[in-house]
Amino acid sequence: MSITDFLTDLLNPDLAFLPKALAIAVMSSIVCGVVGCYVVLRGMAFIGDAVAHAVFPGIAVAFVLQGSLVLGGAVAGVATALLIAIFSQNRRVKEDSIIGVFLVGAFALGIVIISRAPGYAGSLQQFLFGSITGIPDRDLYVVGGTGLVILGLVLALHKEFVAICLDREMSRAMGLSVFWLDIVLYVLVTLAVVISLQTIGNILVLALLITPAAAARLLTDRLGVMMLLAPLIGGVSATVGLYLSWSYDTPVGGTIVLVATAVFLAAWLFAPRHGLLTRRWRRPGGQEIGDDARPALSAAK
């Protein structure tokens, strides 16, 4: 299918679900790209995985009660994020073990709950692998609104988030409340995951959080640039992925993630300074990383 056909389909009123799916996929990958930068830089990918799984029981309950899936997922995800933050204060069991416990526990709870609902097999597949059909108009506004709130909070607390990523001990000494900032960050990650579930699905949503941010990290050494590149990579991957999925009738979540993964691999090979092949091609005697301030310091003595 050519790009023109895809554009025609997007404007076709009989296929109204398609532009909706595109809007949701792009919005959620932009939000995930921005939040994912903190996740990648702090090495908390496992927490992202945990909340992604932890939203499942909430979605199951919402499904059984015919409520909003986004809301149900958000409640369960935030509850799990809080539990992880509180339990990991006890240093006897390490944070990753705590996350492991709650990740699987929550997912198991979701499976048990949804198995009680009639006709669960089909819905289960939708939750796990994502789908572009059957998105209610209301979700469009929920996703858009939640996305704006997340981006607003990131903008407001960016300075503090950077400080706690850089040096927790120093942040405490400066009087920052590291515990509460951690919780806000976990909640933002959870919300970003929840709004992405619809199109990407529960299993693959982690990719939207990690892959664009990781690719952006390979392309730049500047945080500001990284936080612009990551949502850009995410948004483009979502658009291209949806187009390919529509053209070749492949699962939408999987296709979007594969496109993002391809971008990551390309960045890994061809990134301007740190790419594998770029480094190999670069002539010797190019960039020197030297201790060039030392002579200045000695001279000043």
């Binding site: 503090e160 850089l166 405490r172 201790d291 301030a293 200045a296």
Partner: protein, 247 residues
């Protein structure tokens, strides 16, 4: 008024006594070396001064007022491994991060903040590297970034945790000179270290710590071998004692 005044400080960690009856005073202009073996409570003492750890008893007064987190009178330079060096951030941004608490929520750095960062970078002679990513710095440069980050608040007390660890001799010497001149600019500087030679060379006073304060005096007054064997738990024939006698 003393810059730092610690009286009868007791600290427990995990139910075990770590510091007992610590009495320590610092005046501006002093560069005091805090020496002791691993587990002596050096870092814990610094954290108690910053009010980052719960104390069991005693008082910590900073410029006449009880210590609490977020006071700009104290500049803290934690051990280098506390900092995430692979973070994509430039030297000047890393130094600016030291003012995060001071700038306050929902506010952006202003002219005064950038001026303070510029002054701090000048002071440690990193101005030429201000735009460089922190991940590309050498160990000595990294240590100076952390010192600049603490200086960005223009503190009157500077706490340095193991600033010499893992650095070669010339770098240690340069840093030692920097600390000496920082103290001479009317600051009180307290520095923990393992490094006896660097400490004796640059400090105006040495404090030997092992749970309690074993000795507190000028380097020349601490020749008694027993003080050192008591602090470090080494034997009379230890190379450490030869070093003490030689310095």
């Amino acid at each position: 008024m003393r810059a730092l005044d610690i009286e009868g400080l007791d600290v427990d960690l995990g139910g075990r006594p770590v510091l007992r009856d610590i009495r320590l005073h610092l005046d501006r202009g002093e560069l005091v070396g805090l020496l002791g073996p691993n587990g002596a409570g050096k870092t814990t003492l610094l954290r108690a001064v910053l009010a980052l750890t719960r104390t069991r008893g005693g008082t910590v007064m900073v410029e006449g007022k009880p210590s609490r987190p977020g006071r700009s009178e104290i500049g803290y330079v934690p051990q280098r491994h506390e900092f995430t060096w692979d973070f994509p951030i430039s030297v000047e941004q890393a130094v600016m991060s030291g003012r995060t608490g001071h700038i306050g929520l929902l506010r952006r750095p202003g002219v005064a903040d950038w001026r303070a960062v510029g002054d701090a970078l000048d002071r440690v002679q990193l101005t030429g590297l201000r735009r460089r990513p922190v991940g590309e710095l050498s160990g000595g440069q990294r240590q100076r970034v952390l010192v600049a980050r603490a200086l960005a608040l223009a503190p009157r007390i500077l706490l340095l945790d193991e600033p010499f660890t893992g650095l070669d001799m010339p770098t240690q010497e340069l840093l030692g000179d920097l600390f000496t001149s920082l103290a001479a600019e009317d600051r009180a500087v307290l520095m923990t270290t393992h490094d006896l030679v660097a400490a004796v060379d640059s400090c105006t006073r040495l404090v030997l710590l092992n749970g309690r304060i074993i000795a507190d005096g000028q380097p020349a007054d601490l020749q008694d071998a027993e003080l050192w064997t008591k602090t470090f738990g080494v034997s009379e024939t230890s190379p450490l004692l030869k070093l003490v006698r030689a310095t």
